[in-house]
Symmetry: D2
Subunit: 117 residues, 4 copies
Amino acid sequence: MSPEARTTLDDQVAALRAFRDERDWSRFHTPKDLACAISVEAAELLDAFRWSGPDTGVAGREDKVREEFADVMIYCLYLADAIGEDPAALIADKLALNEGRYPADKSRGSAAKYTEL
Amino acid sequence: MSPEARTTLDDQVAALRAFRDERDWSRFHTPKDLACAISVEAAELLDAFRWSGPDTGVAGREDKVREEFADVMIYCLYLADAIGEDPAALIADKLALNEGRYPADKSRGSAAKYTEL
Amino acid sequence: MSPEARTTLDDQVAALRAFRDERDWSRFHTPKDLACAISVEAAELLDAFRWSGPDTGVAGREDKVREEFADVMIYCLYLADAIGEDPAALIADKLALNEGRYPADKSRGSAAKYTEL
Amino acid sequence: MSPEARTTLDDQVAALRAFRDERDWSRFHTPKDLACAISVEAAELLDAFRWSGPDTGVAGREDKVREEFADVMIYCLYLADAIGEDPAALIADKLALNEGRYPADKSRGSAAKYTEL
């Protein structure tokens, strides 16, 4: 197991907080502007695939994908911090909700939304 | 410390993988379509703030923000899994890159991009 | 009335087609990739407002807004062309639909979605 | 030529303004919130293609694409109106800029960005 693999989200959030606070950036981190930032970074990630046509893979665009992926995650963790939520708990809650919405036997192999199952 | 706080990203990825594989959904999880999904979920998060004007806070929209936040994170973790990357390592790498791009003394209190510092 | 004001969407689409075809770019213009491009350009437009906090105005960011606005519109017009639709007709159809969904007396001064009126 | 084909952007903007003002919605139409709305609608358009894999076409998703396309265009036209710009002029200006950035002989058949030509 790599050292990173044992890192908890809390450890990462602590490092991100230190980075932010050394720069006095929490003044910019309103929930609305963080939501904007997440959308902007998600689009930069998507941009790695622009004009790729039927090629849905990552080959040839790994570096951009890695970097933009991290930006989306980082702003997500800042948003959770700004609103006082535990990101791991929010993920666990949503996964539990999805377990109910998407019974395995009804949704197997189907991309249908739960409202259409 | 809450039990979630001690959860590693690896534990969460394992739960997400089990959920996905019980439904045979990895067939849909191409990097390009996961990047699309992240953008769509990021926009649903942003939608919580639509028409909020100068109100940049989360009050009154906590539930939608929590749920859409989790969706963005979940698809990010599926993307990292689909491309064989450790999400914690990618975040740590990007934070190290940003430490170099944004020296604390030059970027304190400034929202300028590193190319404009 | 300025000359531009009398330009029809058809005239603009004709100019955009000429630009595209001189560069043999229609090969890239699949509906899916154009939808990706519209999302990416919309995010670049949104990026003009990143970290603006309660300031919801355009002052100080006019140039970026003008340019990114045009990019969104241009890719929209290319998408309409790629799928063989008249953009003006689609807008008129949606406006007619919204007239029914949002009766003026029920929706006046309210940002509620039609499903919640 | 269909009647819509002869409609100018000005005619459409006039109809959109009447719809907006009958509902007293200009109070919501700040540039920042319109930019948010454009991103959200662009993502709803993109959502029509989620999980489509290598299928980059519009077949089977025409209705959703038509409707979400119109939403993106409508909010774009509201943004141009909110900032006092002529949308046709902005498109023409950007097309002229792109003519210079992408010389036909250098960019033919290439998806490279102008900074990489």
